[in-house]
Symmetry: C2
Subunit: 248 residues, 2 copies
């Protein structure tokens, strides 16, 4: 457990893998030095809980590596995932002391944390941080609204295809993309987590994945490794405009 995650810690921000995408993306060298002074790393192993809804939360931070989920739970145990946190995503809300959601590490996870008070202080002093945070929050809001369409109006099959295309394209920027147009990636989530993401049961998730496999939309190696032979086909199955609507 906790293999080299602790030794992982990049000593200075210049070497950080998320330097140009996280909340610090716009900071100049000076600002980075200041951040460097108040930052600290925390590691979590897969399955571990980062924070519980309602807990006192005295830090904010960025996911450096690994994946975490943001979920909401009803009294009777029904749960809905409301955020999927990938490297560079921000956790916590400046100006709030209590966590509003459960945060759980889905894989081994490293976070770059800042104590809340000094971070909020810095936010007022260095507009670059607030600017970047606004941009990231607006992006998250757009993602949440896309997700609302998925939850409210798509069929189970479309939901699965949507999730697969989201994961595929989030990874696309990073790696993968087998020249030939094929895409290969590992599902970071269990069937149950996918069900929580999509407002389904895990059985339905399993059945629809099997169906997409049977129909040749995806190819599976084992239970986690997915190959998408034709991404446009997957987008069609997701019910999305195939000519990916250009925003921004």
């Amino acid at each position: 457990m906790l293999p080299d995650t602790l030794t992982f810690a990049p000593r200075n921000c210049g070497d950080c893998p998320i330097r140009h995408r996280a909340v610090c993306a716009r900071c100049d060298a000076d600002e980075l030095t200041k951040l460097d002074q108040i930052k600290y790393y925390r590691s979590f192993s897969a399955g571990q809980s980062v924070i519980w809804s309602g807990d006192n939360m005295d830090f904010v931070g960025s996911v450096v590596s690994g994946i975490a989920t943001l979920t909401q739970t009803m009294e009777d145990g029904r749960t809905q995932m409301v955020g999927l946190l990938l490297p560079s995503d921000f956790v916590g809300r400046p100006g709030r002391n209590q966590a509003a959601y459960d945060v759980v590490a889905v894989s081994d996870l490293v976070m770059c944390c800042f104590r809340k008070a000094p971070f909020e202080q810095m936010m007022t002093e260095t507009p670059h941080i607030a600017q970047r945070l606004l941009q990231m929050t607006l992006d998250e809001l757009d993602a949440a609204r896309e997700w609302m369409l998925v939850l409210g109006r798509k069929t189970a099959r479309e939901k699965i295809a949507s999730l697969l295309s989201i994961i595929a394209s989030r990874n696309a920027t990073l790696e993968m993309a087998t020249a030939s147009g094929e895409m290969v990636f590992d599902l970071p989530l269990t069937r149950e987590a996918m069900a929580d993401y999509l407002g389904l049961t895990l059985e339905t998730v399993s059945r629809q994945i099997s169906a997409l496999k049977r129909d040749g939309v995806i190819v599976l190696e084992g239970k986690r490794r997915v190959t998408v032979p034709d991404f446009d086909r997957l987008m069609e199955e997701a019910g999305d405009d195939s000519d990916g609507g250009i925003l921004s």
Copy 2:
């Protein structure tokens, strides 16, 4: 049509009904003067479209009075509401030129608009605006996540109860609250719009409203005026923690 909405326009920001809740809330007198110079009002009558998804959008703005909806539409016509815009809510995204959603006036509507370029200019100069916009965006993100739980995991009855309690509590701050603990308000949405909000069909909305009425959770006068005799009961029906979880 378009009754006194145009003459409505408050001449200066000091008199504005949303002065202390909109994106300008934190501005001081100086900043307000600058905003005053670049603002203009636009009126829309009920049912009119403010902007279509994909349209070029050269302004941003705040809802001054009236109600509008933000919706997404799939190619085959399925629609999902992704935002309900009440007075003081912000429309548009700085740094984006195309509208991402359809915006439709549900009632007669007055908006306070700013051309995008000067507004973005001001945002970089006066941190008060960006600060407030960040706060508002974070609030919207929280609301979107709450909404995701509703869409993904609640039953039709719970969905209706949730919507009613959201509308009730959004209004609560303003007016209403019959001392006795009763709440009375008008539904601003048609059954169809409620269905779009909740990921249901209008028939199901109608049936569930009838059921809540039959069970005494709400009382209807006509089709739009709602009385809630016992708000805690309504919250229970919504499946929410009755002891309203305190965040912030």
